[in-house]
Subunit: 189 residues, 2 copies
DNA sequence: CTTGTTTTACAACGCCTGTTGTAAATACGC
DNA sequence: GCGTATTTACAACAGGCGTTGTAAAACAAG
């Protein structure tokens, strides 16, 4: 009988290594050899647990996206839209670093349909969750919850861009102020 | 005496070729050989007019950025902030395509300080111009024009992200509505 | 036409890439 | 402890990369 290894755990380990490389040296530097070196193992483990580099990148992107999504889902219950948005805001340095990795992948997704599909999937999930939260918060029935959710996500993305590249220009306090202003305009406390 | 060639024009020609390659096949595909082939010339012209690939990429990024900036500056006079913002909005397919190229470069800029510097330079210019326009439009003196400009640019970026990846979700009409809503909140018609 | 300089072509270099194949190490059921 | 299937290591491969050098072509001035 064979040596038994948790496949999912190994894949996660490799993906984490890739993440570190990207964060330190950029997506260009994320070669199979470098990622393998980062795990401390040989390149064989990468080839063994991933069908190829594409597969590895897709898994990594999925992790970036799903991590954000999971954080949103773990928001304090009660279906509060604000809590969901606050969690997604790039308020601290760690979140900003994550945002920068996210940008690197988005730049790739532009020319890789499979990655773009992943991105759309997560946007859709976030939008749906946010729309539901808005409804729970008592959003005016005459408004289109999905559309309003999309607008709020646009705000989120805009803040993320600026917080990632010029963090000193949009303090956490100001981000929250802008968010609350918009929520107030929707009649949501 | 030597054959005379307009250096700037040649550089622009090469950059345009790179742009086409990026737009069609992604930034990964933008190799020196491929770009040269796109111009119809040999790789020597690239090496001759650019110090290296870095130089070429920087020039290309500069063009993407400055093109947007130039459009903004060419906005109908009168210092109207709205005109400036409308021009930057990804309202049509061409502008959305440009936005996608922009994203590809931003993903690169994350790990290339020189490109990031270029990006910041343009953001600063845009912000300054917008702040001035806001003042001209009679923005409440008690508000920080630069900060409000930054907030408006954040809105712009958010709309761009969504328009680039899910154009059907944010129609031009809706983009304008969201923009006008914010401007109205600032007391600017 | 000759001269002198720029511009272009082409080939070669060394390096790094993703992938594949072979062979050794590992650890479980028996 | 033996057999066996999995997991890892290492080496090799062909191919593409950015860059560099040499040599030909193009063209303006005299």
């Amino acid at each position: 009988m064979p040596r038994v290894v948790d496949h999912e755990a190994r894949r996660a380990e490799v993906v984490a290594a890739l993440w570190r490389v990207v964060s330190r040296d950029g997506l260009d530097a994320a070669t199979v050899r470098r990622v393998a070196a980062e795990t401390g193992m040989s390149t064989s483990v990468v080839s063994h647990y991933f069908a190829g580099k594409e597969d590895l990148l897709r898994a990594a992107f999925r992790l970036v996206l799903d991590r954000g999504l999971a954080r949103a889902r773990a928001a304090p219950a009660g279906g509060r839209a604000r809590a969901l948005l606050v969690i997604a805001l790039p308020l601290d340095a760690e979140r900003r670093a994550e945002a920068r990795i996210w940008f690197a992948f988005v730049g790739l997704a532009v020319s890789r349909p499979d990655l773009e599909a992943e991105q759309r999937r997560v946007y859709r999930a976030l939008r749906t969750a946010l729309a539901r939260a808005l409804r729970d918060d008592g959003l005016d029935e005459r408004l289109d919850a999905e559309a309003e959710a999309a607008a709020l996500i646009a705000l989120l993305d805009g803040l993320t861009v600026q917080a990632a590249f010029e963090p000193w220009r949009l303090s956490g306090r100001r981000q929250l102020a802008l968010l609350d202003e918009r929520l107030a305009a929707l009649g949501i406390g």
